[in-house]
């Protein structure tokens, strides 16, 4: 009887999700190309060739560095902004809380493609809003998306802008679990607000911060739409991501190689998640 409830889901789930996970593992050890689609079992095994090929692939190495930078810079930046917004909302203000929360959360529900289109305009050299505003205070802004120096930071800034509201909601829920009395006791002992933040808020928020950081990191490891729409990976591959490179290899028909890269991303995600559990267990 219970299996009757489970069956429709399980069938679809096995065929369209679990099956492909297993298949992609197998495919990553083959030389499968787009021509083999109709006979996927006729391909030859090439062992670890696809994996070793990555290390010699100049574009992949560049993409891996870019993706690493995106995560290492983007995650702390987004967490800082999200935490600041959450602390602000939780600071005892009463009016406009709903407006603030909805406003900060808004970018997170929008399509990355659509906001990337908008940001491409914002970041234009001379017609762009960003450089116009910078011009008001006498700064001559660069041509953000056509500069090998500034293109990747621009994409990171946009990602942080889009995701901070998500972390704000998660962090806000975490902040609300900290009992008021703890703060009041510290206040009586003479702790100022900065000390209360560093010695109470941050330690008590540790699990929530880690959780939010890992979720954001998992998302950022796969960044794809931003360079696809805003820079096409350029200039000079300075915004090429692993996901984008993977997609390009798929478009060229190199299915085996593309899935191998996908598996590497998966491993990175698993490592990140396991690291979170380790870190949580250490001190709590």
């Amino acid at each position: 009887m219970a299996w009757g409830f489970a069956l429709p889901f399980v069938l679809l789930f096995m065929v369209f999700m679990v099956g492909p996970v297993i298949a992609s593992f197998a495919m990553s050890f083959t030389d499968m190309r787009s021509g083999d689609v109709k006979s996927p079992f006729a391909v030859s095994f090439v062992g670890l060739d696809n994996y070793t090929q990555m290390f010699g692939d100049e574009k992949f190495r560049r993409a891996a560095v870019n993706t690493g930078l995106f995560v290492l810079v983007g995650v702390p930046l987004t967490m800082g902004l999200g935490l600041a917004a959450a602390v602000g909302l939780n600071s005892g203000i009463r009016r406009f809380r709903t407006v603030f929360r909805a406003g900060y959360y808004l970018p997170y529900i929008t399509s990355i493609v659509a906001v990337a289109v908008v940001w491409r305009f914002l970041l234009q050299d001379r017609q762009g809003l960003v450089n116009t505003v910078l011009g008001y205070v006498g700064i001559d802004g660069p041509d953000w998306l056509n500069s090998t120096t500034w293109a990747l930071p621009s994409l990171i800034a946009m990602a942080a802008w889009r995701s901070m509201g998500f972390l704000m909601v998660i962090f806000l829920a975490g902040l609300q679990t900290i009992p008021r009395q703890v703060y009041e006791a510290a206040e009586m002992d003479g702790a100022n607000s900065w000390q209360r933040f560093v010695f109470i808020t941050l330690p008590m928020m540790r699990p929530t911060l880690l959780f939010g950081g890992v979720l954001t990191g998992i998302g950022y490891l796969q960044f794809f739409e931003e360079p696809f729409v805003m820079t096409q990976g350029g200039p000079l591959d300075s915004t090429l991501s692993v996901s984008y490179h993977l997609y390009n290899q798929f478009s060229f028909g190199n299915y085996g190689y593309a899935t191998a890269m996908g598996y590497l991303l998966f491993v990175a995600i698993v490592v990140l998640t396991v690291a979170q559990f380790r870190l949580l267990r250490d001190k709590t």
């Binding site: 203000i93 929360r101 493609v113 729409v229």
Partner: protein, 301 residues
């Protein structure tokens, strides 16, 4: 939670940005710092919403005004020309229809299938239950980037490339929905279900007449989050939709925007509005379910 989640929608996109407002004088000793918090939060809100305001204003400017240096803030002359062109010369009605249809089918499928499995996992005992739940949770970690190539090979062999079935099938049974519905279902009291069983109701009847009517908030949360994810999904429709009549909105917008021959700024901004505004409307109307969804999945996992 002392927080009042989503009480009243409140202006979101075009609302006036509050000037710093003095704090209510309930706790006078904290009033000065409240003033600073309002100032910083308002400045932040302006920065966060500025791209949307600029998009809305830009979409009703003429092409020549959009190319002006320096750019204008307020449109000198309002025009709906961009929207007219999107919906008459370009095929945006078709893309819009495709996006709605695909998102609705995926949402309905998830509500049905995830509720059923969620009920079995939360309230019934059966062989393989733990393994199945472990598999579902494990699948939550697997990103679309890892499996889209074999999914594409599968869909191609089923002859479903460039069809609605091809766009919908791989997303009908999402692990996230099972996890969410199981959480909601666990809250139903066992006594209630046992009483129904004693009265002779079968499991199908209990599920239909007792469990699902209690699942309003759960279904709403799952429905909204699924619809949102599907509406914004990009990679899979980019791969599967190969002719223009199958494009969804994000695919159409992205491909128009990277087309070297198509550099009409107004059309692109108007297109972005068409993708963003429907979701924002849903969000404003049903905000508390979004927040509930995050709270349920984020903090109890």
């Amino acid at each position: 939670m002392t927080d009042t989640i989503g009480r009243g929608p409140g202006p979101v996109v075009t609302g006036p940005v509050g000037t710093p407002v003095p704090a209510p004088s309930l706790r006078p000793s904290r009033a000065p710092s409240h003033w600073r918090v309002y100032a910083v939060m308002s400045a932040g809100l302006l920065l966060v919403t500025a791209p949307f305001l600029w998009m809305l204003l830009g979409s009703v400017k003429s092409e020549s005004e959009l190319r002006r240096i320096p750019p204008t803030w307020w449109p000198e002359r309002f025009t709906l020309e961009n929207y007219r062109e999107l919906f008459s010369r370009l095929d945006f009605p078709v893309y819009f229809f495709n996006s709605v249809l695909v998102a609705l089918l995926i949402t309905l499928g998830n509500i049905a299938f995830c509720s059923m499995l969620g009920y079995a996992l939360a309230k019934l005992e059966f062989r393989g239950k733990r393994v199945l739940f472990g598999l579902v949770i494990g699948m939550l970690m697997v990103p679309g980037m890892v499996i889209f190539v074999p999914q594409y090979v599968l869909v191609a062999n089923l002859g479903l490339v460039n069809t609605y079935w091809g766009l919908v099938l791989p997303f009908l049974a999402g692990p996230f929905g099972v996890f969410l519905m199981r959480q909601f279902m666990s809250a139903i009291s066992d006594e209630l279900l046992d009483a129904a069983r004693v009265d002779g109701a079968g499991e199908a009847r209990i599920f239909r007449s007792i469990v699902m009517p209690l699942m309003g908030p759960g279904v709403a949360t799952l429905g909204i989050l699924t619809f949102l994810a599907s509406w914004n999904n990009f990679l899979w429709p980019l791969v599967v939709a190969q002719t223009e009549d199958m494009y969804t909105l994000p695919v159409a917008l992205a491909l128009v925007s990277v087309d070297q021959n198509q550099t009409n700024y107004g059309l692109l901004l108007g297109g972005a509005v068409v993708v963003i505004v429907p979701i924002v409307a849903v969000f404003v109307a049903l905000q508390r379910y979004f927040v509930q969804g995050i709270a349920m999945t984020g903090l109890k996992s």
